[in-house]
């Protein structure tokens, strides 16, 4: 009897905690979308009326539209470059035996443990010395550094799941090493590569903690624009912009999920 009670209490509390967790995780994004359709002038809950008014305002707002363009532009560049750099490095780590491999892997993942403020200020200082703060380079290179761990992790995972015997079979069938990579390795890890690129895109597109230090009078990304806007005031305009970001992110998650399955994302 006692045993039964403990079992039931654990099952019930577990279910309750999970319900709260999922609600808590989903709620902020959901509410942003709900409030973005308000027809009123201020952010209230429940929203007053329904309109696309604030989406029109975003479309006409040069500040946000420029920031959206900057964010997209940087994110595309970052994902392309991160993919190339990350694939080369992951391939070397996966395929070759050399001294200091563990150290290199630690280096590749170190951007995850360096606090964003440290990286942000450090890069700001570096580029200030180089007199390049007004250019796109601080953002581009900062995001590239941030994207490396995600790209490396995804590609390393695909490479280690990839059956090496298939490459031996190809070599046995007279395919040269380059041909093996082109005909066998790349096509088979393509989903992993695509999701790595998408990861890099999302990392760059959504980042604010490092970008906040790097838009110092120069190019402003959309998250930083939202941050500085909300820092002083907030209104349904931000809700509309944020909803756009939510939709873009959600679509991207679904694409990754299709490509490699959500499990393998993490």
């Amino acid at each position: 009897m006692r045993v039964d009670l403990i079992d039931r209490a654990m099952a019930a509390s577990g279910a309750a905690v999970r319900a709260i967790v999922y609600a808590m995780l989903a709620l902020p994004a959901l509410l942003v979308i709900v409030c973005s359709f308000t027809s009123g002038d201020s952010l209230n809950f429940p929203p007053t009326g329904f309109s696309m008014r604030w989406y029109r305002e975003v479309w006409q707002n040069e500040l946000f539209m420029t920031a959206l363009w900057t964010s997209t532009y940087i994110a595309v560049l970052v994902s392309t470059m991160a993919l190339a750099i990350g694939f080369a490095a992951a391939f070397a780590i996966n395929r070759f035996a050399f001294l200091g491999k563990g150290f290199l892997q630690a280096l590749a993942f170190s951007p995850l443990i360096i606090p964003a403020v440290v990286l942000g200020i450090g890069l700001l200082q570096l580029f200030a010395k180089l007199n390049l703060t007004q250019t796109i380079y601080p953002l581009l290179l900062g995001h590239l550094v941030l994207a490396i761990p995600y790209v490396m992790r995804t590609i390393l995972a695909s490479l280690s799941l990839h059956d090496r015997v298939l490459e031996e079979a190809a070599m046995n069938l007279r395919a040269s090493p380059l041909k093996v990579i082109r005909r066998i390795t790349l096509p088979l890890i393509l989903p992993g590569l695509l999701s790595a690129a998408i990861f890099a895109f999302v990392t760059s597109f959504g980042n604010v903690t490092v970008s906040a230090f790097l838009t110092y009078g120069g190019h402003v990304t959309l998250p930083v624009q939202i941050f500085t806007y909300v820092d002083t005031s907030y209104d349904p305009l931000v809700a509309a912009v944020s909803s756009l970001m939510i939709v873009i992110t959600l679509v991207i998650i679904l694409v990754i999920e299709r490509l490699i399955g959500a499990e393998r994302v993490v």
């Binding site: 999970r18 902020p28 395929r95 050399f98 906040a212 110092y216 907030y234 959600l250 959500a262």
Partner: protein
């Protein structure tokens, strides 16, 4: 006919790794050391200077305000990590034991806050906690409160938002380690007359310890360096080290001071990581790690 295999084995990986190494050295390691250098400058408002002084560090540790902020930041970090562990473990565990189709949408919900921009999440919480926000609307309409309550700009609010932001890291760490624990072990424990609680305490948790440590570590380090959330949710009332640094650099342009604080943050974060790693390497956890499938 023989190929120069030996030289190719060195040259090829070196060439492949060069771009990544170059990128990380130039734009991660060099800036970090540049910051370290700047933290030892005595004069403020100087990007580049000469001389070496511990002035910034001495000032930080002798000023009771800074020490209290550092202390508060640590306490907040620990609270956030513990809450994340408490509610993230059951969630991560259940995710690991669900069938893939049932797992699908739950995973998407868990991953969403990770991929979504932080400002958007924080903005969502402004809608929830704001004066005209969701909670106040509920309180007013249900008659519990007669006038809107000030929910923002408080430490509990900051902690709540930080928990939501970093919870996915804990859930995913726990999930990945629990998926490697064979469910048969739990059945065996049950067959040996262990109830669910005993099974958890004696089988699941010891085996899941590596994941718990990893999740705790990640959440703690992210929490203590947060600055967007304390600034937007906590306002001027809640000071955390991250938001202090942001102000020092971006508003006051006081480089050496900001740099010193950033370094104190980095070192404390690495210190906690090292401590947790040492703990994880201790006998108990090593056992768990070794026996997890």
């Amino acid at each position: 006919m023989e190929e120069p295999l030996a030289s190719r084995r060195v040259l090829t990986p070196a060439l492949l790794l060069a771009p990544m190494i170059l990128l990380l050295v130039l734009f991660l390691i060099v800036p970090t050391f540049g910051l370290l250098r700047a933290s030892f400058l005595s004069e403020s408002h100087l990007l580049d200077g000469s001389g070496f002084s511990l002035k910034q560090y001495i000032r930080f540790f002798s000023d009771s305000y800074y020490s209290s902020v550092l202390f508060e930041t640590f306490v907040d970090g620990i609270i956030v990590s513990l809450i994340c562990l408490g509610i993230g473990f059951p969630t991560g565990y259940s995710l690991a034991r669900l069938s893939p189709p049932a797992r699908r949408w739950r995973i998407i919900i868990v991953i969403m806050p990770l991929t979504l921009s932080l400002v958007v999440i924080v903005f969502g919480w402004l809608i929830i906690l704001g004066r005209n926000g969701v909670i106040n609307a509920l309180l007013l309409s249900s008659g519990i409160a007669s006038s809107p309550k000030q929910l923002l700009f408080s430490r509990p609010a900051v902690i709540t938002v930080l928990v939501q932001q970093f919870l996915p890291f804990m859930i995913l760490s726990v999930m990945s380690v629990v998926t490697q624990i064979d469910p048969v072990l739990e059945h065996a424990a049950a067959n040996l007359r262990a109830n669910r609680f005993a099974t958890f305490r004696k089988v699941v948790i010891p085996l899941a310890l590596p994941g718990i440590f990893a999740g705790f570590n990640l959440v703690f380090v992210l929490s203590i360096s947060a600055f967007i959330t304390p600034r937007l949710i906590g306002g001027n009332r809640v000071a955390m080290l991250g938001s202090l640094i942001y102000e020092r650099i971006m508003a006051e342009l006081n480089w050496p001071s900001g740099a010193a604080m950033a370094f104190i943050l980095l070192v404390s974060g690495l210190g906690v990581t090292a401590t947790l790693n040492a703990l994880a390497a201790s006998r108990l956890v090593r056992k768990g790690g070794r026996y997890a499938r």
